[in-house]
């Protein structure tokens, strides 16, 4: 009995091995590349926490202002004045004072007021994933009993808003703009590239000259011109989508050229002729028979160029041409931190930078790993 079971499982395993698809081989190779896997995990965590649950992770709502104007990061204590260790961390209340020598507003800890830090604390109401109404936040000080106390792990801005909260919400827009923009670029680029390569002739001519035309513009001035054309009375959300469109419109050319090049060689393959002789029409040949052949390459290109998209948004918003307050993106946050005064007095506002850096790095790690895994001739 046991023996037959064992042989059965081995035959199943053998069959599975025999019918391993291309993508399962890619996955197998990708898994062994630790750096790429780490990049992928970082991105999964980032996207999940910034796009789906920033409301839960942040202790306050985005528009929750307080009188903690430009307060530095709150110190979290485990050991109290008497040297006693507490398992539950706590913070002290603060008192606003003016330092008379530097004429700066400073916050001094009032050790008489102790507020315990809690997990899953009730706070500002919100809807989880836009659906479930709740008011539970990952951490914080209970706001019902102490409405004026703030725990600001990355400091506060000029309106007393929690900087960490802003980074979380900003990440949502910045990461999404990269992804949505890249998806649009992908659609644009592959469709144009496939048509260009498949039809050739004047279609090819028009598409290729257009990409050259777009490519001949310097990026930033072109962005600026297009972004300046967005009407100022539009809602921030409309501006956001317009910006995504602009970013993908400027960037599809490179991808279209690469796809075209691949299609030019693929369309001479015998299977295209075979499919045609079986009665397939042009669009079927292009998108069912030719396009899949370019997919592995396209995936790599897409992954490696999402960081460019995110950086472009950041740069544009930093220049004041992209997203504008009241929207919060990483570019908008960087703009806040872009003055010498800000760096001098509120250096914690630079916390945005490591988030951007880690995201970009993770994308590059993932992209490199994908490229190695998808390359059938790779030796590693």
């Amino acid at each position: 009995m046991a023996i037959t079971e064992k042989t059965e499982t081995t035959t199943i395993a053998k069959q599975k091995q025999a019918s391993q698809s291309y993508w399962s081989l890619v996955w197998w190779k990708f898994k062994r590349n630790r750096v790429a896997v780490i990049g992928g995990i970082i991105l999964l965590v980032f996207y999940f926490s910034f796009v789906f649950i920033p409301e839960f992770l942040s202790p306050y709502a985005l528009d929750n202002t307080s009188n903690y104007t430009e307060a530095g990061p709150t110190r979290i204590h485990f050991i109290d004045q008497d040297g006693k260790f507490h398992l539950r961390p706590f913070i002290y209340g603060v008192e606003k004072k003016i330092d008379f020598t530097t004429r700066k507003r400073i916050f001094v800890e009032d050790t008489t007021k102790v507020y315990p830090l809690q997990f899953f604390v009730h706070g500002d109401p919100y809807k989880l994933v836009g659906l479930i109404p709740t008011d539970i936040h990952l951490y914080g000080v209970d706001q019902k009993s102490n409405p004026d106390v703030r725990v600001l792990i990355m400091g506060a801005d000029a309106l007393g808003r929690d900087w960490f909260t802003r980074i979380l919400y900003g990440g949502r827009l910045s990461l999404m703009i990269g992804l949505i923009g890249q998806i649009m670029t992908l659609l644009f680029g592959t469709v144009m590239g496939v048509m260009s390569g498949y039809y050739g002739g004047w279609v090819d001519m028009v598409i290729q000259r257009t990409t050259e035309f777009l490519g001949a513009f310097p990026d930033i001035p072109l962005f600026m011109a297009l972004a300046a054309a967005i009407p100022s009375f539009w809602s921030p959300l409309a501006v956001y989508f317009m910006l995504t469109l602009i970013l993908s419109f400027v960037r599809w050319g490179g991808l279209a050229r690469q796809v075209r090049g691949m299609i030019l060689s693929l369309r001479e393959r015998e299977y295209v002729l075979a499919a045609k002789s079986a009665g397939a029409n042009d669009s079927r040949l292009m998108f069912r028979h030719l396009l899949p052949g370019t997919m592995s390459h396209v995936v790599v290109i897409a992954t490696l160029s999402i960081p460019g998209m995110i950086l472009a948004e950041t740069a544009l918003s930093w220049l004041g041409l992209g997203l504008r307050p009241p929207l919060t993106s990483w570019g908008v946050l960087l703009q806040d931190a872009a003055t010498v005064r800000a760096i001098n007095t509120t250096p914690w506002e630079l916390w945005t930078v490591p988030f951007i850096l880690v995201t970009i790095l993770a994308y590059n790690m993932l992209g490199d790993g994908l490229r190695d895994a998808l390359d059938p001739y790779g030796s590693r």
């Binding site: 069959q15 025999a18 019918s19 698809s21 291309y22 393959r269 015998e270 299977y271 002729l273 075979a274 499919a275 045609k276 002789s277 079986a278 009665g279 397939a280 029409n281 042009d282 079927r284 069912r288 028979h289 899949p292 052949g293």
Partner: protein, 364 residues
């Protein structure tokens, strides 16, 4: 019985295909005339570059880019009722159809299937064998292939899309018919998991899944080894018998053609030089080119060792600069000076149903 029944399916009349390339105009097919009959096999032989494949492509109106059909017609007798015995034929010229149009697309694959020389690259690498067959079926909105005693069900199901399970069953059934072992497993195999012979069988299964009236086999066994070749040929013969399908068998392998075809067309530089029954052509070749071709087959046991194999002298002529008169005259062993290089030969019936175009059979 089949001897008397000669219903034409495709009639190629005076076909001319030209490729306008930078160096000049190449006449790939130059005044070709032939008839393919229903349920019969027509063998087309000739050297590389003599226009065999271009003719096949012209029938499907799939001439590659710089090429153009400049003259002639390809009459297709389309049978409207597939099952009924005295079917009505819709007769029209394939060269007049829109090469991307609906009519020719429904003919391609649906009524005239084609298999290619290179089984290694004729399947799209990202789709399984089953997916390929399903594509062919769904492209032609076909009803499931009938099983024995299933005629009624077939009529009911006419013009209805095939469900996934049915399609899979058809695919497995087709793979079984072309002799692929373990078709239930192979149906989910990707092309790279199949051997060359298996891929060619899958190609045949695809071509046959829509029950075409005709199969164009463009050197289907050239890339396969000899034992697989024999199996593939057996399968094709069996399937032809069971479904009364015409085959246009293109090859340069004389041994294969002798065992496959009933009638042979010999092509040279885009022209038919000789046509006739297989037996007649092999026993009594009339055209010097055919004679030379047949002499160049090595035969076992007949010759003394050390003797050199006969070959055709010279090279195929420059397509941009064809010889005057008979195109074969510079290589012809029976060259008649003053005639062959001046006068173009005409199409002559040298004996019953045996045609050749050579000045040897024309009076001065």
């Amino acid at each position: 019985m089949s001897e008397q029944l000669r219903e034409p399916l495709i009639e190629v009349k005076d076909l001319r295909v030209e490729f306008d390339v930078r160096a000049g105009i190449v006449k790939a097919v130059d005044g070709l005339t032939m008839t393919i009959n229903r349920g019969k096999t027509l063998g087309v032989i000739g050297e590389s570059g003599c226009g065999k494949s271009v003719t096949a492509r012209a029938i499907l109106n799939m001439i590659p880019k710089p090429g153009k059909i400049t003259q002639g017609e390809i009459i297709y007798h389309r049978r409207l009722t597939k099952e009924g015995q005295p079917g009505l034929d819709d007769v029209f010229d394939l060269t007049k159809t829109d090469p991307d149009g609906k009519i020719i697309r429904s003919i391609r694959g649906g009524e005239i299937g084609m298999i290619f020389q290179e089984p290694m690259s004729s399947l799209t690498p990202v789709y399984t064998a089953g997916a390929h067959i399903n594509e062919a079926i769904s492209l032609h909105h076909l009803t499931p292939v009938r099983k024995v005693g299933d005629q009624l069900a077939e009529q009911v199901m006419a013009h209805r899309k095939v469900t996934k399970e049915e399609a899979r069953e058809i695919a497995i059934n087709m793979l079984h018919r072309v002799g692929i072992p373990k078709p239930e497993e192979r149906v989910d195999s990707y092309p790279h998991q199949l051997s060359g012979g298996q891929r060619q069988r899958v190609m045949i299964a695809i071509a046959l899944s829509c029950e075409p009236a005709m199969l164009i086999a463009d050197e289907p066994t050239t890339a396969l080894d000899v034992s697989i070749e024999a199996q593939i040929l057996d399968i094709m013969r069996e399937l032809q018998e069971s479904s009364n399908m015409a085959i246009m068998f293109i090859t340069h392998n004389l041994g294969v053609i002798a065992s496959m075809a009933e009638e042979i067309v010999v092509m040279y530089m885009g022209k038919v030089v000789e046509q006739g029954k297989v037996i007649e052509i092999f026993r009594d070749p009339k055209h010097p080119y055919t004679q030379a071709l047949l002499k160049s087959i090595p035969t076992l046991g007949k010759k003394k060792t050390g003797e050199r194999l006969a070959s055709i002298a010279g090279m195929t002529p420059d397509p941009f600069n064809l010889p005057t008169g008979c195109v074969f005259h510079p290589r012809c062993p029976l060259f008649m000076a003053g005639r062959c290089d001046k006068i173009a030969p005409t199409w002559k019936e040298v004996s019953k149903d045996h045609y050749a175009s050579c000045l040897l059979y024309e009076e001065a």
